[in-house]
């Protein structure tokens, strides 16, 4: 970062333009910028943390090596992603003690996430240093003892903490003992570690919320030579180079973001010099650059990368100053386009300012602007969005298109901890959403519209196959989230097995297709009273009376179970005001109001909730 940029940021802070200072600072530090920038940035972020709303996250790191020089990188990467990290570092090469001792400082710290950064050199030195001295029996014994140790540690941590675990796998030896024939040798050292890594995955898969950081893969992506710094290793037992420290900190942040439910949902794209090279208005459909030859092939590759994101469940939209008719011709007729009209949930192609378009897209898709990523080559357009809609993540596209695919691949915004069936079909679902909107416009009355949708709701209770989808829904749902509670997979599993709770899910099918699991209610039972502990509905199906159908089902079920009354609660958040009167509208009585939190009660004998006649309910 130049001295000038530093001055600009410092003066923005003086003028209390914190949001803008934050955006400028973010631009200057990523990706792979210099250590001096990181150190300067860390200092400024510490001021901004006080002024802006960051998500707090408690991170414990247990390690077998010196990682202290990496901590500034971890902090800066967190700050740059609106996370305010609190760090706990276990003692040098002490892993077991903290995890196995219930009264340890590790547990007192109450970590949201635990990182286990271990290396084969310390965990199983025999397999590294004296491999050739071991008999094959001894190798098996060491291997089994490592796996048993992993199992013991994870199981102990799971018993004592609800924190999530990120555990490194082992780097394969850079120079395996049998050299050029190692991978073919029956005692291949590299093969042994591959096997150990597979066993690590097998072991961790027995537990929930344990994630294996593919350290081996990360190291190879950057190159083992660039990763290891011999000098720092021999002088300070700190083996990571600057490049390595940055890359690893960046990788950690991807996990933190996903764990905090900060994954983005929607990618908004410009067209000229973004999706294709050149300017359509000037060069025409034959002139724009896309296809097999350079420089068009970089744009083709970029589109392919976007298509992958579409298939993983991210929503694509267009926000471009262009002539709509000419653009449609490109989408319909240009033989080299990878993306077609059907891949976009929303298209704003006009001469309106892009900030307004952005707001319209958010409204149309019914998702928050803070889940948007905006890709545009024009610094002017990006600046406009940054100033007017700072919650949108603007990604700068440089002048050379060959960097586009790489920039997209390296973004931490699209990392998720699981991909459910729903996710893989989401792009298509948003598209049918638009068809529904069209039908709504053509229907004479709302009731006609509902009836014409031919909706069927399938309700299931305590279905362990739906754990990841339900956890995911509590993490991602902001608007229709009555108690603003958010749960991990292990939480949901606990509710399912607990005698005091029941977890209901609702899948909605209509004439346009299967919307997937879109609603959930967690019921807490206390004798003959049910409390609706949490109630979530995907924004995709809001405004279709599904909530009424769901509540009526729960009510009926309660009657069968001899429940006297049902309690509900509304805890206000920044985004859930659309459901503030939900219980009132369904005949619940207000029993308490405290700091905006309202508690509601429904007496089962006196009131019942009627299921809308246009929704058929089935038990799945």
């Amino acid at each position: 970062m130049s001295q000038l940029n530093r001055k600009v940021i410092e003066s923005l802070i003086k003028e209390k333009e914190f949001e803008l200072a934050y955006i400028k600072l973010n631009e200057s530090i990523k990706p792979h910028s210099s250590l001096n920038n990181f150190l300067f940035a860390e200092k400024i972020y510490r001021v901004l943390v006080e002024e802006l709303a960051f998500r707090r996250f408690r991170i414990a790191i247990l390690r077998t090596i010196t990682v202290e020089p990496m901590l500034p990188f971890i902090k800066v990467m967190c700050y740059a992603n609106k996370i305010n990290p609190e760090l706990y570092l276990g003692g040098y090469n002490i892993i077991d003690q903290g995890i196995l001792d219930q009264g340890s400082k590790l547990y007192a710290f109450k970590p949201d996430a635990l990182i286990i950064f271990w290396r084969a050199e310390e965990v199983c030195p025999k397999l590294m240093d004296s491999y050739l001295e071991l008999s094959s029996n001894e190798v098996v014994m060491v291997k089994e003892s490592v796996v048993a140790k992993i199992d013991k540690l994870i199981s102990a941590f799971r018993t004592n903490s609800e924190g999530k675990i990120i555990v490194h796998n082992f780097e394969l030896p850079q120079f395996p003992v049998f050299g050029i024939v190692d991978s073919q040798h029956k005692r291949s050292q590299k093969g042994l570690f591959e096997e150990l890594n597979n066993l690590l995955i097998e072991t961790t898969n027995k537990y929930v919320d344990v994630y294996v950081l593919d350290y081996e893969h990360l190291v190879s992506r950057y190159g083992k030579r660039n990763w290891f710094d011999e000098r720092l290793w021999f002088t300070a037992k700190a083996p990571l180079s600057i490049v390595a420290m940055q890359a690893l900190a960046n990788e950690y942040t991807k996990y933190f973001k996903a764990m905090l439910g900060m994954t983005k949902k929607c990618i908004v794209l410009d067209l000229d010099n973004t999706l294709w090279g050149g300017i359509l208005g000037e060069e025409g459909i034959q002139g724009i650059k896309i296809g097999q030859a350079s420089p068009g092939n970089a744009f083709t590759e970029f589109q392919k990368e976007l298509l992958k994101l579409y298939h993983k469940g991210f929503v694509l939209a267009i926000n471009s100053k262009n002539d709509e008719e000419a653009v449609m011709e490109v989408f319909d007729k240009h033989p080299d386009m990878v993306l077609r009209k059907k891949h976009f949930a929303s298209m704003k192609i006009n001469w309106t300012n892009k900030a307004q378009n952005m707001k319209d897209i958010a409204e149309e898709l019914n998702i928050g602007l803070d889940t948007f990523v905006f890709l545009d080559d024009s610094p002017v357009e990006r600046e406009l969005i940054k100033q007017q809609l700072p919650e949108v993540h603007c990604v700068a596209l440089p002048n050379n298109a060959h960097l586009y695919p790489k920039i997209l691949r390296e973004l931490p915004d699209f990392e998720r901890l699981s991909f459910t069936e729903e996710d893989l079909r989401r792009g298509e679902m948003y598209k049918t959403q638009i068809k529904r909107k069209k039908l709504e416009k053509s229907s004479t009355s709302l009731e006609d519209f509902y009836s014409s949708l031919e909706m069927v709701a399938i309700v299931r209770v305590n279905d362990s196959f739906e754990v990841s989808r339900l956890a995911d829904m509590t993490q991602k749902t902001n608007q229709f989230n009555l108690t603003t509670r958010r749960y991990s997979k292990s939480d949901i599993s606990r509710f399912i097995t607990s005698r005091n709770y029941q977890v209901y899910s609702l899948r909605l099918i209509d004439k346009f297709g299967d919307n997937g699991v879109v609603g959930s209610i967690i019921v807490k039972q206390d004798n003959d009273i049910w409390e609706l502990y949490g109630f979530w509905l995907s924004c995709r199906v809001m405004g279709r009376t599904v909530e009424t159908a769901f509540l009526s089902y729960i009510c009926e079920k309660g009657l069968k179970d001899n429940i006297k009354s049902i309690l509900g609660k509304y805890v206000p958040s920044k985004r859930n005001s659309p459901v503030k009167d939900l219980y009132k509208e369904h005949g619940f009585r207000l029993v308490k109001k405290d700091k905006g939190i309202t508690s509601w009660k429904l007496d089962r004998k006196k009131t019942s909730i009627k299921c809308p006649r246009w929704i058929a309910i089935r038990e799945g």
Partner: protein, 76 residues
């Protein structure tokens, strides 16, 4: 060069630039410990485009001594 070095040390150790003297060292700056020393060395190498060996790393433990090493390496 002096100013650049002071800026690095000030950012890293939370001290004011004008408080850094020749005799400021790992002994009398609180935040300067053996682990932060690694970041200091890396930051200096990057800023001045030099690289140091183990002996020099161990030697660069005060402002004056760092300046000495940098001058030896022809940094202006």
């Amino acid at each position: 060069m002096e100013q650049k070095l002071k800026r690095i040390m000030s950012t890293l150790f939370d001290v004011k630039e004008d408080e850094i003297r020749d005799e400021s060292s790992i002994e009398n700056i609180d935040e300067w410990d053996s682990l932060k020393h690694i970041n200091l060395i890396l930051a200096i190498e990057e800023e001045f485009g030099i690289s140091t060996d183990e002996d020099q790393m161990a030697e660069m433990i005060s402002f004056a001594k760092i300046m000495h090493v940098l001058t030896d390496k022809g940094v202006r």
